[in-house]
Structures are given as structure tokens and as C-alpha cells.
């Protein structure tokens, strides 16, 4: 079974992001970029499926500026077999990404597509279910455990208040939650090997998709600042202030 893993290039999760002074967005120039952490978990899960003999080939896909090729290289170093880069300078929103991925899935005919549950930049948490919808496939979102048996994948999902287990007909879409696995670090020999793996370049037009955004960003503001607080010296003082000043207990 072939597995596709879309990977997004995002501002590294350790970076303290800043709103641009002209309020058009978040400052991304000169900022460290990395693979979206949930997508790393997706790559790791695909590699583990290959190690178990369930997956036969892993294709890593990224979309956007040419530097997204670096994100694909990271996936290749972790164990993906080849890459596809859809190059565009359009601001891609989940609907466009899902349409581009559907077009690639129609060509590649995978049995499983594993995505991160959300990207840590736009926090949309939408692409996985949208891709499942366009393909007419089942979906197992927020997965913390999965097992493939024949034509069915059993997925344990992290839901509000606990876990839910579902059985899904393959082909299927999985989105990863934090506890699905711990992604490996790529070893130096694997990083070297990844340089020789191929990355195909495509454009949205090659895939017959109009990527024009449907949402216009009117502006981006700083979140409201909290007023400066005060330090208390003892637990007794804390409780007293919560009672008489804040009046919350």
C-alpha cells in the first residue's frame, strides 16, 4: 500500500512570533522555518508502517514557495521514498490544499494519506477532513493509535473527555494527534541518502486546480494584552486576595 504524507513548512514552534507593524500578517522574514510538528508525527507513522511491511512506498508532498523542498528533504531523511513539490506563491488555504492533494491522490492512488491534525501557523485543523470529503474516503482524525488489517484501519481517536475507537474502510485519511508516536531524528547517513531521492515539481495548473484563496485577511492584530499582575508573598495572602480583591472564590 502506498502512503502519502503532506508536510507543511511553518514558523518553527519555538519562535516567538510577532504581528507585522502594518498589521498585514505575522512577521516571517528571517524567521526559522521547520516542518509542522504534527506532520513530523505523520511522517514517522508512515515510516513505521513501512517498517512493519504495511506501507510499500511513502511519498512526501509539500506546497508553496520553493523552500518547501527543504521540508520534503526532512521527510525523505526520516524515511520517505520520494517527494512532490507543488510550487506557487499564492497563499494556499485548506480548500485549495485539499483540492491539490486530491489531484495528486487521483494520480498516485494511495491506500492511506496521513496528515497532521492542524498546522501551527493558521491553526485551521481542516485539510485532513476536507481531503477525505473530496475523495469520498473515510477519516480518522486526532489519531493516537492505528492498526491496519486487510481492508480496514482501526483508529483510536483523542476526543473531548477520552478516547473513541472507529473502524474505517480503506482507503482512508488519518490525522495525527500528539501521542501517536515520537518522531525520530534523521541520522546523518539518512540525511545524505535523502539528497539523492527525487522531488517532482508541479504547479497548481498542472493539477487543474485554481488555488485562489476564499478568505481575505483583512488585518491581523496583536492579541489584547493582560494588565500587569502582582506578586504575593504567601499562600495566605493569595487566598485573601482571591477572596476580597478578585472575588473569584
Amino acid at each position: 500500500m502506498k502512503v502519502l504524507v503532506p508536510v507543511k513548512r511553518v514558523v518553527d514552534y519555538n519562535v516567538k512570533v510577532r504581528v507585522k507593524t502594518d498589521k498585514t500578517g505575522i512577521e516571517t522574514s528571517g524567521v526559522k522555518m521547520s516542518m509542522n510538528p504534527f506532520d513530523e508525527i505523520a511522517v514517522e507513522e508512515a515510516v513505521r508502517l513501512k517498517e512493519k511491511g504495511v506501507a510499500t512506498e511513502i511519498v512526501a508532498i509539500s506546497m508553496g514557495v520553493p523552500q518547501c523542498a527543504e521540508t520534503i528533504r526532512t521527510a525523505l531523511a526520516m524515511g520517505a521514498d520520494r517527494g512532490i513539490l507543488v510550487e506557487t506563491d499564492v497563499d494556499l488555504q485548506p480548500l485549495a490544499v485539499a483540492k491539490l492533494l486530491k489531484a495528486i491522490a487521483d494520480e498516485e492512488k494511495p491506500g492511506l494519506i496521513i496528515l497532521g491534525k492542524q498546522a501551527i501557523d493558521d491553526d485551521m485543523s481542516a485539510t485532513g477532513p476536507m481531503l477525505a470529503a473530496l475523495l469520498g474516503w473515510s477519516q480518522g482524525t486526532f489519531a493516537s493509535k492505528l492498526a491496519v488489517e486487510g481492508d480496514v484501519i482501526t483508529v483510536t481517536r483523542e476526543v473531548d473527555g477520552g478516547l473513541e475507537t472507529v473502524a474505517l474502510n480503506l482507503p482512508s485519511i488519518i490525522t495525527t494527534d500528539l501521542r501517536l508516536n515520537e518522531p525520530r531524528y534523521a541520522s546523518l547517513p539518512n540525511i545524505m541518502k535523502a539528497r539523492k531521492k527525487t522531488i517532482d515539481n508541479k504547479k497548481p495548473a498542472d493539477l487543474g486546480v485554481d488555488p485562489t484563496p476564499r478568505l481575505t485577511i483583512v488585518r491581523v492584530d496583536e492579541p489584547p494584552k493582560r494588565k500587569a499582575g502582582q506578586m504575593v508573598k504567601s499562600v495566605a495572602e493569595l487566598v485573601s486576595k482571591l477572596r476580597t480583591e478578585a472575588k473569584v472564590i
Binding site: I26, D121, A126, L238
Partner: protein
Amino acid sequence: MAVLVLLEFDASGIKQPSRSAVAAAVALGEVHALVAGVDLGAAAAAAAKVAGVSKVLTAESPALDHLLAEPAAALLVALAPTYTHILAATTAVGKNVLPRVAALLDVQPISDISGVIDADTFVRPIYAGNGMATVKSSDAKKVITVRAASFDPVAAEGGSASIEPVSLGDLPGISKFISAELSKSERPELTAARVVISGGRGMQNGDNFALLDPIADKLGAAVGASRAAVDAGFVPNEFQVGQTGKIVAPELYIAVGISGAIQHLAGMKDSKVIVAINKDEEAPIFQVADYGLVADLFTALPELAAELERS
């Protein structure tokens, strides 16, 4: 045309996040509510009483039990033609079902809104709440999930909506519910609690989370955790407060042994009053705290429990 809200319910009625979604919907037009699943009598009656709802649609089918995304999305798409907006709360269900609905309608969903400007324009947090984006949709129909912490829920009582069953078309059978393992707790749900007390990596292990219990009991609080505590295996993921966990905005949030990573702050910084207890006075959590106490949590927590007990 009206707006449609997908409601979630349990034995005790319509869930609070869904009533927050209704609060957002009221700003957009006449509100119809959908309850789907099996044995809907009590849920439909509860939905009809929710303030601001004028009509309740019931979709009764075993296929819709547990609101699996594939059949639930098909149902919403069938109902979509007469609605301008389709909403649900940003919950595990909302995040699973609504993007699927949006794609089937060829619409870009607007996830996790924290404000309504007009029928096309909404505010939503990006980058873990480090930016508040105002976005305008060019789609004819809007598919929206609502950040419950940003909208005061409408009252559970007071409405008197009509109840109307909907006719069900074919629902896809490509997924099957197997089991649910829900944590048993006497405590309120994290996203609905008036008080939340959370532990971080400073708790050192899962057993020490018991130190939070007497305080939570006394305050009627829900217990949460930072991602660091979840990653370290101290507590299960459903405890997680943060960008990748639950977003909470209680009256009182008490952060214990939590340093205040960006991704944790994203989940709790809209709380009305924040208390931080940490032995590291440089911890970033103190920058958002209304009351900070530099102390060893292993002495401070028993003291706090005793102090609360005293009165």
C-alpha cells in the same frame, strides 16, 4: 434564510460549547438547531428550550449515533441549501465534521472564530493566539466552528422552539463506531468549568497530581495539565490545556509548576483571573498572571488546601 447550528448533547442536556455556538449564531440570523443520533426525545426537548433557537431539526438514525464525520457531514450537506451559515462549536466533533461539510460544499471553512464582525467577516486566532486575524469570506455559504471560550453560552432554558424531524437520504457507511473510553470524573469538564487548576512538568510525576485534588474539590474545579506534563506521561492527553489541547477561559485559572510555554498560554490566557505558583521567579507564566507566588509547589499546595479548608 436562517443559520443552522449542530448541537452536541449528553444525558444532562445540550453541551455548553454548543450553547456558545448558538450565541455566535444569534448574531447572524434566525437560528435553527440540529440534533442527530438515536433516542432524541430528551435532546430535542432540551434543544427546544435553548434561548435563541427558533426551530429544532431532529435526525434520528443509528447511522448518526456518535456523530461520525462521514454520515454527519452528508446530513449537514443535505440540509445546507436553505441556510446561509452552518456552525458548530470547536470541539472534537465540530473539528471532525464541519471541514468535511465545507469541502463537500466547495467552501473554505472558517475555523475557531472568536468574534463576529458581520455576516461575511469574522475574527479568529492564528499562531496559537499570538495574532488575531480578521478574515472576510467570499463564499456564498459559510461553514464555521466557534471558539466556545470566546462567546458566553446562551441560557439552557427559556426558549420554546418547534421540533421537526428531517427526512434522511443515503448516509455513507464507510466508518463504524467500535467503542468509547471516556474518563470517569466527578469534576466539571475542562471547557465548562468555572475554575481550572492545572499542573505542569513541575509536578514531577502523575501521582503528585493528587496534590491538586483537595483544592479542585474545594473550588469545584476541573483539573488540567500543560503539554509538557502530558508529553512526560503524567496525565492523559484529554487533560491538556493549550494550542494543541483544550482552550479554556474560566473565572479562575491556577497554574501550578507550569513555566508558561507559548503553546500553553494560548490555551488559557483569556481566563478572567490567573494565578501562577512556580518556584522559578523568571518563569514566563508570571507575565500573564494576575497573582504570582514564587514557592515550591510541594509546600504551597498543601498550604493552599488547608487555607481553603479553614474558611
